[in-house]
Symmetry: C2
Subunit: 699 residues, 2 copies
């Protein structure tokens, strides 16, 4: 589908230039430098030759077919150029030119104009305001880009919203001598989108791992659905910048589209098994390990070191990544005793000591390969001047090539010395992922183990509860919309909860004091009486809530007092509810997110949410396993099990509640915000005792 | 004092070897390669020449004076070698040989033996089981070390417990082309200690900044006192590995000395203004900024970028370090409007766009230098192929050299291209701290700002309360020690609290029911009655606590019931105390740390400490400012100010309480553990309502 873009048989350059260092010149030079196997057609109104190639006055003058055209001319001429591309039969266009949606109204108008022209001819557009693509396939060598790094062929493909970061990733990969497959940075992304590119990479057989840089998504649900299919097949390593408010502001300034810190991207990554990073260097160094090592089946690491301190640093970092450093088996220790120097430490870390040569390293590696307690291997290898470092490197390569257990190597050396350059070349040729310090190596292995964990995690499918009444809930909301209301009354909220089998404490509504008493008698004392005030969120702030009313007199007096004191609010009616003291206060919330669906939140109520912000979010629909993760994931999860002699809560009831809320949100997308706050959870049950729903207004 | 070690006029090598790659050969080659200006005397029983130098059969045969000797012979011969060094008048010895305290009993014995010989002659010993030292002073060029990195002269000095990490730090500094001054890695450190080396670096005029790597200290108080003096004069950047239990175990295995995770080192760093790092690469890259840039006076950063995404990444990281990204002044924006391209974003980050050349960069830099809202500058500089990158680099260098505001540069380029190597050479020669990606550059600037903050922080001197009765407290403890007890009774604990003016709820002790009632009547109801049971920490677990007793009958019944139920524990007596409901439960704790003094802990009681572990530690003595930091530093500090309509607590009373506890601990070092748990804090007061003290046993 995107073959014309990524595998063009010919490339035209509208805006080809004879001026050195101009973009219209640099791209041609890049195609030539990289050895592009297709035809290059410069288009320039005046020149007859550009970079030694015949140039054409217009695209119509090009004799052959054109798969892909670059457009590198001022923005106002772009719509016409697209029209001409259409007439020529061009299949895809990379618009490098800027001056569109990122530059205000006139730019938006131009973008709409050229988009219409492209649609007319079925042209796929890449950009505008973008770098372009690279395809390192030696049969093609397409460098349709103005950057300056020439990747060697490999199996990692890169897609980046920001060209600057894309180029940086490409550069760091190249500095690490890691091959790359496809590269794309699509700028304003008016047509070909990042999800589409990821899908393409997913289907590309030569791509073994994908690196993604983004600052958020215009269509997060599309990304979620597409990328979920891809992560099932190959690892997707991703970084989302704009984590902070200031960072998001900076992102919004350069992309002109997104604004505000969104947590949704990170939650999507988590949901669909994208491996998340906060640091671009760390992501690329991890990719180095992914490109040659198998995925670990567990988190137990064996460490081999020929120097003390770096093993301590590595251990700290590995433990940060939840790796275990288990004891070695007796068999392993016995084998080490036979093979290592007397000064060696036969523990984990195994300190083979600085004088260890190839045989000692190899023996230690073999022990770790054979020890069933070990899933992966970390090596510190400092080039001690009194050892045969090449022999050590060769043994590491040999073990790495067996692909029995993943390994990484922290290779500490002085590359100014030729002797050690040679040692490094052995590691490099052997595709051992090696790093210049223990922290970097340990983080790369940590990422590999984290990916193994992601691969093994199956969140399952959302459970569908059948005993729900969608129609009743829909009717309530539609009626409220027709009445022009955005916030539902307590009566409506409770009716919707009931329709979805969400347990609520026994309740009723009434307007006059005697009706309230009647309702209370039916429910049974003690009761709570609340003003049914949809307009004000915090009923208790206005003194509209009375708890633990024990008899008819207390209820009657309370209602009369509230009616007198609260003026018009007192006329809104009252909610009477069973009073249930002594439970654990929980909160479930939901919010609709632009182009995604809903986020669901869980936490402990009261100060836990207000002061500690101790809550967990998930993208709906939430499965049973995700609901379990929510309960286990809060910092105060121990409180759910009971502390200081208190009973724990009925977790099963709460996870079912979360899943029912999730199903409700899926059925009722017009819900903008919803709170079940508080939920009172007991050892054997859980009830929503207050709720709030805000819906999309009809207008 | 350590001049013979760091500035030796002559070096002898006991164990010099003709065998290439052996340590006794490598050190001589290193001295020669580095251009050592002093005399080198190989000592070898058989050879007449080593590495082209005349060799001597024994050290006694050396004609000249010997400042420093390396010992590189098997451990059992070291005591005799030290004896011979003494007779020769050698001033300092580096023992490279291993096989001492790290290798068990026989090693310890040998170490004691050679130490005795050294003391006899006043020889200072460095090591054993160590690398050695380097002094890059061009007048000396002393490379008394077997490593393989040859640092250029500079102003950063390094001291590392681990030779492996020391060499790594030296290597990374050298890879970044940062000059170094002194280097030391002292292994087992039987004599010359890290604090002593830091003190020496502190006094060394050529050392402008110090990098320290450690895994803990044998004598933390010595380190604290010494390094406090040094941080007042120059920055000390430090990393402490063994943060995790597994890491600490690895450390203990290779140093043979320390064990267990200690938080004290990090607390010492905080107390005395050492800049802490968790990553060795980050520490060294920060040092690069320290070596050429002034210290920021504030945390407001101005960002200049010629590419979008990297500015977003940098902004995120800078915000992580608590930097602000303020709006630019109207004057600044006006000046940018005059000087920048139309596509430029005139905000902060300032996006000068990819086509910006020297003049655009310079104008933006000048705007940030002149804007009073900006304290420091971050630059993203990608070498866009269509710009004069050398001109940009020259402007950055010029601004950096002005030293008006600190700056760092993320320099994104392809160093395989000669053109950009030249640009890099300009930045390097101009001593601009430049990094290969935005995260690294931002973290380096973050560290610089963090150091500025540390420099400005003055914790003051501990307040001395005069209305305390040291003698009374000492007498109580001494009597308990004489009675062979380690845990004090409630009576003793409360008496000690009273002696130090620590407010306790009105209390008394009694044995029989009627005495308890009498005491309760005096105190006034309601009261709490507790078994005064020193042996059992958790009185409430055994049903030995009754709260809110409102009259004589309730008190009497409770005591009789407890006496009947608790058997011998009921005969220990009872503590009667005023019952004070409704306060905020706090906890203050203290523990004696090996060779340091006490740590003091503060937190909220109950689930906050049990489930959330939300506590702050400080090294005693605690000043007023540190006590304030403790209250402000817990995650739940908002609860101290009151939430949900509750009143806040009397913070002044609590900070005074912390300081009084601190003073008590300083006066009574025999206290091993102390808890004030809970403290009940109210809007206008705070009381300890239970306490526990464990003391050192006399035996």
């Amino acid at each position: 589908m995107l073959d014309a873009l990524f595998k063009p048989k010919s490339v035209a350059l509208i805006g080809a230039s004879t001026k050195e260092l101009s973009i219209g010149n640099v791209i041609i030079r890049n195609l030539q430098t990289y050895g592009y196997k297709g035809e290059i057609y410069p288009v320039n109104a005046k020149a007859t030759e550009v970079c030694g190639l015949k140039s054409y006055p217009t695209i119509a003058d090009i004799p052959g077919e054109v798969d892909l055209a670059h457009i590198i001319i001022p923005s106002q001429f772009v719509p016409q150029a697209i029209e001409e591309c259409g007439q020529k039969g061009v299949k895809a266009v990379i618009i490098n030119s800027a001056g569109f949606s990122e530059m205000g109204e006139e730019g938006v108008r131009l973008q709409e104009e050229f988009l219409a022209n492209a649609r007319k001819y079925g042209i796929r557009l890449f950009g505008p305001n973008c770098q372009g693509i690279i395809n390192s396939d030696p049969g093609l060598n397409a460098y349709c880009n103005f950057t300056f790094t020439f990747p060697k062929p490999g199996s990692i493909s890169v897609v980046a919203l920001s060209g600057g970061v894309g180029a940086l990733i490409m550069q760091v990969l190249d500095d690490l001598d890691i091959g790359q497959r496809l590269y794309a940075s699509n700028g304003n992304a008016c047509d070909v989108s990042i999800p589409e590119i990821i899908q393409y990479y997913g289907e590309d057989e030569g791509t073994k791992a994908i690196i993604l840089y983004t600052e958020g998504f215009d269509k997060p649900r599309e990304f979620l659905e597409v990328t979920r299919e891809v992560t099932a097949k190959k690892p997707v390593l991703a970084m989302k910048a704009g984590r902070t408010e200031e960072g998001a502001k900076a992102a919004s300034s350069h992309t002109g589209s997104l604004a505000g810190v969104d947590i949704a991207t990170e939650l999507i990554f988590e949901k669909i098994g994208v491996l998340p990073f906060n640091d671009e260097g760390e992501m690329v160094r991890a990719a180095m390990a992914f490109s040659s090592q198998p995925t670990p089946t567990g988190n137990r690491v064996g460490i081999i070191t020929n120097t003390g301190g770096p093993a301590v640093i590595a251990t700290d970092v590995l433990v940060d990544f939840d790796l275990e450093v288990p004891k070695l088996s007796d068999t392993s220790i016995a084998k080490l005793q036979e093979t290592q120097f007397p000064q060696a430490a036969l523990e984990n870390p195994i300190d083979v000591v600085a004088t260890a040569g190839g045989p000692q390293f190899r023996a230690a590696l073999d022990v770790l390969l054979d020890d069933a307690q070990i899933d992966c291997i970390y090596i510190n290898f400092v080039t001690a001047p009194f050892t045969d470092t090449d022999a050590v490197a060769r043994e590491i390569v040999d073990v790495s090539r067996q692909r029995r257990k993943p390994l990484v190597c922290n290779f500490m050396t002085n590359l100014k010395l030729e002797r050690y350059q040679k040692t490094m070349a052995i590691l490099k040729a052997g595709e051992v992922p090696y790093y210049a310090n223990p922290g970097d190596a340990a983080r790369a292995l940590g990422a590999l183990v984290q990916y193994g964990r992601i691969q093994q995690r199956d969140i399952g499918q959302p459970h569908i509860f059948n005993n729900v009444d969608v129609d009743q809930a829909k009717t309530i909301i539609e009626q409220a919309q027709q009445a022009g209301r955005e916030v539902l009354s307590a009566f409506e909220v409770y009716k919707i909860f009931e329709a979805y089998g969400i347990p609520v404490a026994p309740w009723n509504v009434a307007t006059e004091a005697e009706q309230v008493v009647f309702a209370a008698e039916e429910i049974g004392y003690p009761v709570v009486v609340k003003v049914d005030c949809a307009e004000i969120d915090h009923k208790s702030d206005m003194g509209g809530v009375a708890i633990n009313l024990k008899n008819a007199t207390e209820v009657r007096d309370t209602v009369i007092e509230m009616q007198a004191r609260l003026g018009s609010f007192g006329k809104l009616g009252f909610l009477v509810q069973k009073f249930l003291p002594g439970g654990r206060e929980l909160i479930i919330g939901a919010s609709a997110e632009r182009e995604l669906g809903h986020l669901v939140m869980f936490g402990l109520g009261g100060i836990y949410v207000e002061v500690l912000k101790d809550v967990i979010f998930k993208v709906a629909p939430v499965t049973k396993i995700e609901a379990d993760e929510m309960l286990a994931g809060i910092k105060t999860s121990a409180l759910l099990d009971g502390v200081r002699g208190e009973a724990g809560i009925d977790k099963q009831a709460v996870t079912e509640l979360i899943q029912r809320v999730s199903q409700l949100l899926g059925d009722l997308p017009m819900i903008q915000e919803m709170d079940l706050n508080p939920i009172m959870a007991f050892a054997d049950k859980a009830f929503a005792v207050d709720g709030r729903i805000r819906i999309e207004s009809k207008s």
